[in-house]
């Protein structure tokens, strides 16, 4: 046992039906440091963290926390010991106030459980003051933006005065400004001797904020390195187990006639006068900050929330789209932003998740052609390299990247002419990302018209032939692949001039 370490997880093994999620994994975090935990989706990061906070019990292995062997069987337990976690998927209670959310389960109260409302609010105000967060403790959670919701979640984790805070991709939903703010908070926490496990997919955050990095791959421990010594290439190699020369292999594709034209689309309070065109074989990117109306435009064209005015033309003919069913009939497909909320059928099998859009094709005289379904799903599963013990496996047991591939398979089975991809690689590791990019390029080559929405500028720049930039519900510019740079896009996306390098 080493006194420098606040946490030592040694030889942790955990098996689930059909998958060995963790195989003799170790993680050692030094006191007062930020320790990055990296690895592809399905590498075992989440499982390891869930073991640490007591959601899962390991099959074997030992955890030493703060000099004592740790045996936790519930989250409350972990919190009492001094471990808190900022979860990647936010789970606010929308109808309660910010203060109530933060101190949920430990409200200051009188006897018989009567809550001291004033004190609750005051404690929150103090916490926010310390962290320099500008949010009204009395505001309802449902009124907050996603970024602010994330900040509340961060404040909540800190409010436990933990010795160790786990941050699971804390920057995936916040803007540059809040990221700076978060990093500032992390630095001051470090000075107070708090240790942080920082899970991220973003390479540049590594050098900025972390001290050490541990990499997992396929449930195995690969290594621990000092963050300022490791190069990007080394790290990728550790994570993927192979060298990744270039992520984007953009191929030259002949761009033909327009397949989709959107004219003066308006939706009250969301966006106005949006016009754009997508041509056969073309990949059009839509960039913009969160809340700029990117997703809303896609959802409107796809009929989820139809527009108030404006026109949509498909193959030159005017299309009336009032529901996703209409959109699908016009040959459109939409990979939604939030897999769990609007994409997956969690209780169902991988196969049943893949065939949802196309069931009609397999129905003959009321009955389904199960053999054909299996053949097609098998083919797609191999083509997309979906890692699953069988097609009958419940999709909830798959890693995020494989779930995403299954959702893409759903639309490939439908074979649409126009494909909308909203954050196609959110929360997905480098290896799977690269596979998905290649898939998108292949689809373009086959003559699909593709629209990609993404918060990651390198992704937009690497994929798109043309980039539309939105700000505050308006289209602020359109850039060709040649003209587009990160700086140009940020200028248009923020509605202000940004000096290069920021």
């Amino acid at each position: 046992m080493n006194k420098d370490y606040v946490l030592e997880m040694i030889n942790i093994t955990k098996e689930f039906p059909g998958v060995k999620a963790l195989d003799n994994v170790q993680l050692k975090v030094k006191k007062g440091t930020v320790h990055a935990l990296m690895g592809e989706n399905g590498a075992g990061k989440s499982t390891l963290m869930k073991i640490l906070i007591g959601i899962y019990t390991p099959d074997s292995g030992k955890i030493i926390f703060d000099g004592e062997e740790l045996k936790v069987s519930a989250i409350k337990n972990a919190l009492d010991k001094g471990i808190s976690m900022i979860h990647q998927e936010l789970s606010p209670i929308p109808n309660m106030t910010v203060a109530e959310n933060i101190f949920l389960g430990r409200e200051p109260s009188y006897k018989f459980g009567w809550v001291k409302a004033k004190e609750l609010e005051e404690k929150t105000r103090k916490l926010f003051e310390k962290l320099e967060i500008d949010i009204d403790p009395k505001a309802k959670m449902s009124e907050l933006s996603i970024a602010n919701t994330q900040m509340v979640e961060i404040a909540k984790a800190i409010s436990y005065n933990s010795k160790l805070i786990i941050m699971d991709e804390p920057t995936s939903a916040i803007t540059e400004k809040e990221v700076h703010h978060l990093f500032k908070i992390i630095r001051s926490l470090k000075q107070e001797g708090v240790s942080i496990i920082y899970i991220t997919h973003k390479m540049d955050e590594l050098a900025q904020i972390t001290d050490e990095v541990t990499v997992l791959r396929d449930g195995k421990y690969i290594g621990t390195k000092s963050s300022d010594q490791i190069t990007k290439d080394e790290l990728i190699e550790m994570m993927v187990g192979r060298e990744l020369n270039q992520i984007f292999h953009k191929q030259r594709v002949e761009i033909k006639e327009a397949v989709l034209s959107v004219k003066d689309l308006c939706k009250n309070g969301k966006f106005e006068n949006i016009s754009f065109e997508v041509r056969k074989g073309e990949i059009v990117g839509i960039a913009g900050l969160m809340g700029s109306g990117r997703t809303e435009v896609l959802e409107s064209v796809f009929g989820i929330n139809p527009s108030d005015s404006g026109e949509i033309y498909v193959h030159g003919e005017k299309a009336t789209i009032r529901s996703p069913r209409d959109a699908i009939r016009y040959g459109m497909g939409l990979l939604t932003e939030d897999r769990k909320l609007t994409g997956l059928f969690l209780p169902l099998s991988v196969q049943d998740n893949i065939i949802t859009v196309t069931i009609e094709q397999y129905a003959k005289g009321g009955f389904l052609n199960e053999k054909k379904i299996q053949e097609d799903c098998q083919r797609l599963s191999e083509q997309l390299a979906i890692k699953t013990p069988s097609l009958q496996q419940l999709i909830k047991y798959l890693s995020g990247g494989n779930q995403q591939k299954a959702l893409i398979a759903r639309w490939l089975l439908q074979d649409p002419d126009i494909l909308f991809l909203d954050e196609p690689t959110r929360g997905i590791d480098v290896g799977a990302k690269s596979e998905i990019y290649n898939l998108i390029f292949d689809l373009a080559k086959k003559g699909k018209a593709i629209v990609v929405v993404s918060s990651e500028l390198p992704e937009i720049l690497g994929l798109s032939d043309r980039i539309i930039v939105m700000h505050d519900g308006k289209k602020t510019g359109e850039l060709s692949r040649e003209e587009a740079t990160q700086e140009r896009i940020m200028e248009l996306a923020t509605g202000e001039l940004v000096t290069s390098g920021s």
């Binding site: 996703p324 969690l346 209780p347 949802t356 129905a363």
Partner: protein, 332 residues
């Protein structure tokens, strides 16, 4: 979902990589309630000499067939994350209306049957239409239908039973073919048809998809409204069928028939592993659930246990069943 499981088994055999421990837990997972049913039967057979006789066993299934048929409809509703509280009252309404067309020497026997089925279907379609088009919670809509249908039954019959039914109509509830009571044959038929509907057709796939994630189903182009109307319509149709069988068996149309049947049906579905959170449930499970309730009722009667105690026991068993089910889901 049996077909899917058999495919899994096939693949497992070819891989032969699954540990025997895991296989045992998987079998327990799938057939747990069936084993409890068998254990109950064995236990009752020891406790009461009259329990394990052909007559008594047929009696149990016959008694449970009415609730069982309702439970099958309710199962499909629950898989879509819905609920149907109106079944019992619909049974009463169908009972009095069908009975009034079933007097001897008036209409042929199929007229009250068709009217009863049509009426059941209608109530279900009304439920489904309001739920999907007006976006009102199924609990509220079917609670409204439960109250309204009961009122309609009392109004139609003036609060009195309607007797004097034709022999051909009474055959449905009281007759037997090759020694097997007709209600059991109908129950089995409904079970098979519903199994096929849920497992072999796109209707079934959509039912599970809607229950698994309604928003995702809408985006995948599923006509969710239409299928919800189908689902509630089917549940209503089965309530109508149950009403006809019950009326025929008790030889009269009763405006007070079917009280609490909806809760027994929901209990059967839940004991059989249907998840109120949606997306999970099987016809086979529900039939086993209904039989567990039936065996308990019958066995406790034979053992002279007071009916009051029986209700308490039933309550405990439902809760324990759900508890086991939730543990099982959490573990995996």
């Amino acid at each position: 979902m049996n077909s899917q499981v058999s495919i899994v088994n096939k693949q497992e055999k070819s891989k032969s990589a699954v540990s025997s421990k895991e296989r045992v837990s998987r079998i327990l997972h799938k057939y747990g309630m069936l084993m409890i049913l068998i254990a109950l039967i064995i236990l009752m057979s020891f406790l009461s000499p009259t329990f394990f006789t052909t007559g008594n066993l047929l009696n149990i299934v016959r008694q449970m067939s009415v609730v069982g048929i309702v439970a099958i409809g309710v199962t499909i509703v629950i898989i879509t994350t819905g609920i149907d509280l109106s079944s019992g009252s619909v049974i009463a309404l169908v009972s009095v209306v069908a009975a009034s067309f079933a007097h001897p020497d008036t209409y042929p026997f199929f007229v009250p049957i068709l009217i009863g089925l049509g009426l059941g279907l209608l109530t279900g379609v009304i439920n489904g239409t309001i739920i999907s088009k007006a976006k009102i919670a199924p609990f509220i809509v079917t609670l409204g239908m439960m109250t309204a249908a009961r009122g309609a039954a009392l109004l139609f019959s003036d609060g009195r039973p309607i007797g004097n039914l034709s022999d051909s109509f009474k055959f449905i509830g009281q007759g037997a073919v090759f020694g097997i009571p007709v209600p059991i044959i109908i129950f089995a038929f409904v079970g098979v048809v519903s199994y096929i509907l849920l497992n072999k057709t796109k209707f079934g796939k959509y039912v599970y998809a809607i229950g698994g994630n309604e928003q995702a189903a809408i985006i995948a182009g599923v006509n969710v409204d239409k299928y919800k109307i189908f689902v509630y319509g089917y549940a209503g149709l089965l309530s109508g069928l149950a009403g006809i069988i019950l009326t025929s068996r008790i030889s009269s149309g009763q405006p007070t028939a079917g009280v609490m049947y909806e809760l027994d049906a929901i209990a059967a579905a839940v004991i059989g592993g249907t998840s109120l959170a949606g997306g999970i449930g099987t016809i086979g499970g529900t039939i086993v659930g209904a039989l567990i309730i039936g065996v308990m009722n019958n066995g406790l009667d034979l053992l002279n246990v007071s009916p009051y105690w029986q209700q308490i026991l039933k309550g405990v068993i439902i809760t324990v069943a759900v508890f086991i089910d939730s543990r099982k889901n959490r573990k995996s």
